[in-house]
Amino acid sequence: MPHHLFKCSECIPERKKHAVIKGEGEDLTSCLPLGYLNTIPGTISERGCAFCGAKHVIGTPMKDVIHLCHGPVGCTYDTWQTKRYLSDNDNFQFKYTFATDMKEKDIVFGAEKLLRQSIMEAFEAFPEIKRMSIYQTCASALIGDDINAVVKDIMAEMPEVDIFVCNSPGFAGPSQSGGHHVINIAWVNQKVGTYEPEIKSDYVINYVGEYNIQGDQEVMLDYFQRMGIQVLSTFTGNGSYDDLRGMHRAHLNVLECARSAEYICNELRVRYGTPRMDIDGFGFKPLSESLLKVGYFFGLEEKAQKVIDEEVARWKPELDWYARRLKGVKVCLWPGGSKLWHWANVIHEEMGVEVVSVYTKFGHQGDMEKGIARCGEGALAIDDPNELEGIEAIKKLKPDVIFTGVRPGEVAKKMRVQYLNAHAYHNGPYKGFEGWVRFARDIYNAVYSPIHQLSGLDISKDEISADKGFMTRQMISDVKIDTEEAALSEERPYTGDYDCVTKLRGKEYPLLEKSPSAN
């Protein structure tokens, strides 16, 4: 078993089973770290809490909902303006957050009365919003407030409102993942099937495990609608509460982030027979095959192929321009749970980079199976990484760029390793054909940054070439390519707009229609 024990973790030898190096000839039967176990206290782990997984990842992207936390103010403050899940209703859920603001007297005497007042105040402040999600926190869980009872009463008094209750306090699980599970099951138990959605097409899907980071969902929605498919609901990016109550009416659940949302897909399969189809929205080949698969399911494969052909024709020359220059660049894929496997293979195949490490902050062994299956030989796979292990890995592997979160990215920055934001992206969206080129462009701009080059010069002792006034990225990158061949090709750098998403809103989709006889 190719386990790897970091030097900095020799004193906590149980960490050995949480990292493996994929050796030659290793496969999943010999090469898989443990996963989703309790965190070792004091390690400075990258993990967050279950409340985050429930409210911040899955709950709050729902756009037409008042998101109310039942607890002291911190949980609310922390999950407000700290992620980029957009919506096409001017980002209501982004801008407004609500808290019951529990104080000491509420802890002592209970806060159900406060909860009731808070719900009323929130609805009063936003009379046009009739939907609410209430999130339990550590405090309200520990004092045993019966949120469900309060909500039941209010919904009886105010029949025009609908309220969802998510009981996922921060300690409910080793990491964010515990929260994903809770909210998935809570939603399917409480809300799915309680609303009859409008069916606009013969081909209906739910798009699940997609959170519209920088517009990802809107890009994919465009492709589906061009094929004539109705995306009944998205769980939950740019998603609407009532649409999501109608999830039971879809023919197919198309699942992106299995880590956070496979639970609801599995339940819908059990309860309504709706099949679950896992896809990758990243990368030309995986995305093409994903659209094709969905197409085949509905007999729309030709429509799918048309979309694919249009997009590939437009964007491949630009992807290739970057791929030519990114060949051999070493990257660490260090996201939260699923991008390690969404990206591990295709980023190597289509951009030529070498994935030297994958990790997962809160994923399960299943995510590692997918990640290790897809990454190349020699890659270091880490479960539940912590600060010192990350630093040791960077020093050992010497990557050129790391895809991770803001804060670990700053650690990398100081170590002179460039970083791109794997959670909220730099200049995203990264899904879709154009998005993949934007990703390649960000990687290129990071790796061949003249400032990055300059950062390694020690002016007190290194030689300073005083004859240069500037360097361009191309001057830096093109020394290692066959410039003649490049010049003869159709390749070109990115020609898209800064904002490639807003223009999709309000587009018309002629294929999106329901045949009169279909049910």
């Binding site: 206290p41 993990r47 809490c49 985050c52 004092i143």
Partner: protein, 476 residues
């Protein structure tokens, strides 16, 4: 937040005939402050060789580290006891013990380990003082006998007070723990409060010009750390254990922010007879003058000509701005209480009209604050609201109860500025939607200049964007 005994409350009420408005709702819509543990964590990162353990769910530390990273664009070290379901039910003390052990094993330089409680661990009744004692007598003696380790329990449940009170409590707890009576050190203690590295630079500069030696609590200039060719730099605080110990031996303490360090100053006065001067926050010319005067009185050192000149440069810059651009401009200010008060006072000196001041928490001490009383009584048409949230401000704007030319506050209020088209100067904590603001002071004469010039530039950009007499800038 101290709860005052009834006879004192009566006394207070007799003195204070003013009341401070509170927001009328019970719940929060768009909070101005976060909770206590964030404040304790902000104090902790100012100390060298210190890594705090936040005893609670992982979010309590992960989100705060993210908040710091948003503000400083850098990473700071804080650990979690990783409270999971079983420990929430059965008690999490063993998690703290394990966290201390693991932390000490893997970070051999760490000497100071604050144990910061959260709402969950306070509710389940985990005795962090008890566990510190147990560790001191047990693990630290057995396994870490050769090492200097200081465990400091800090109680910061989120259902009391706010990040401000958490910071104040932590400063007091650090000082209480470390301050040690020895020979007088000839220095003053400067307890800065919740400030930026730029402020510390400005304050140290002023003291240097006066030839005054100070122990700065906390030395956070090193939060602004470089990207070095060898890749070895990190952001960290520089206050040492020696610094903290020596606070007992100073000739005096100046706590710049009453609500962020006042408790510690009063403790030093009571326990070690170190005279305490609390406030005012040195924002603007007048309050900086007062600060320097306080330093002069405390140390006997004169205010030098160089500072007269520096003050003059600030006055010169301000004079070009005030009656031309700032007169009668209506301002709303929100954020930390001392910051809000200091900015309001400065705005008044600048001929502006602060019309709305919002403090994000509630505190009986505000009723004893002469500064707030003066603002409320001597300024026409000013609204001061405690326990405020952003919905208070947004409502007033929506309902046209208020007209504003400028908003001053931290980045969480940005959507009000963006959606209602009101220019906003980012100031306070956190500021994450502007580049490099933590490097700049709001204190001292350089801070006064920076504030005024940034206010002006923000107003100018807005004028041009709205084509509102933008031609006036041709000949200014």
């Amino acid at each position: 937040m101290r709860s005052l005994p009834p006879n004192v409350i009566k006394e207070v009420n007799q003195f204070m005939t003013f009341k401070l408005k509170k927001k009328e709702r019970n719940s929060i819509i768009n909070p101005i402050f976060t909770c206590q543990p964030a404040g304790a964590q902000y104090a902790s990162i100012g100390i060298d060789e210190c890594i705090g353990i936040v005893h609670g769910g992982q979010g309590c530390v992960m989100f705060v580290r993210l908040l710091f990273a948003q503000h400083f664009k850098d990473n700071f070290l804080l650990a979690s006891s990783s409270l999971h379901e079983d420990s929430a039910v059965m008690g999490g003390m063993h998690r703290v013990e394990q966290a201390v052990d693991v932390l000490l094993m893997r970070y051999p330089e760490v000497k100071v380990v604050p144990i910061i409680s959260t709402c969950s661990t306070e509710i389940i009744g985990d005795d962090i003082d008890g566990v510190a004692r147990k560790l001191n007598n047990g693990l630290l003696k057995e396994k870490y006998a050769e090492r200097e380790v200081h465990l400091i329990p800090i109680h910061t449940p989120s259902f009391k007070g706010s990040m401000i009170y958490g910071y104040d409590t932590a400063v007091k707890d650090f000082i209480t723990y470390f301050a040690e009576l020895r020979e007088p050190n000839g220095k003053i203690n400067l307890i800065t409060g919740w400030v930026n590295p730029g402020d510390v630079t400005a304050l140290k500069h002023l003291l240097k010009e006066m030839d005054v030696d100070a122990t700065v609590i906390f030395e956070i200039e090193t939060f602004d750390s470089p990207l070095m060719p060898d890749g070895e730099a990190v952001s960290h605080g520089s206050t040492t254990i020696e610094d903290l110990k020596s606070t007992a031996n100073a000739m005096g303490t100046i706590a710049l922010n009453r609500y962020e360090g006042g408790q510690a100053a009063r403790y030093l006065e009571k326990k070690f007879e170190v005279p305490a001067v609390i406030g005012p926050t040195p924002i603007g010319i007048r309050n900086t003058d007062t600060f320097l005067e306080n330093v002069r009185r405390m140390t006997g050192k004169p205010i030098p000509q160089s500072l007269v000149r520096e003050r003059g440069i600030a006055i010169d810059a301000l004079t070009d701005l005030v009656h031309m651009f700032f007169a009668d401009k209506k301002v709303a200010i929100y954020g930390n209480p001392d910051l809000v008060i200091g900015l309001a006072e400065f705005c008044l000196d600048l001929e502006m009209k602060p019309v709305l001041l919002m403090i994000g928490d509630e505190n009986l001490e505000y009723l004893k604050d002469q500064r707030i009383k003066d603002l409320q009584e001597k300024v026409e048409d000013i609204d001061i609201i405690q326990n405020a949230d952003f919905w208070v401000l947004e409502n007033k704007i929506k309902n046209e109860e208020i007209e504003l030319d400028l908003i001053m506050g931290h980045s969480k209020g940005r959507f009000i500025s963006i959606d209602y088209d009101i220019p906003m100067l980012r100031v306070g904590f956190p500021v994450y939607d502007r580049a490099g603001y933590y490097r700049h002071p709001v204190m001292g004469y350089s801070g006064a200049t920076w504030l005024a010039e940034e206010m002006a530039n923000v107003l100018f950009t807005d004028m041009e964007y709205k084509k509102n007499k933008e031609w006036i800038l041709n000949v200014w």
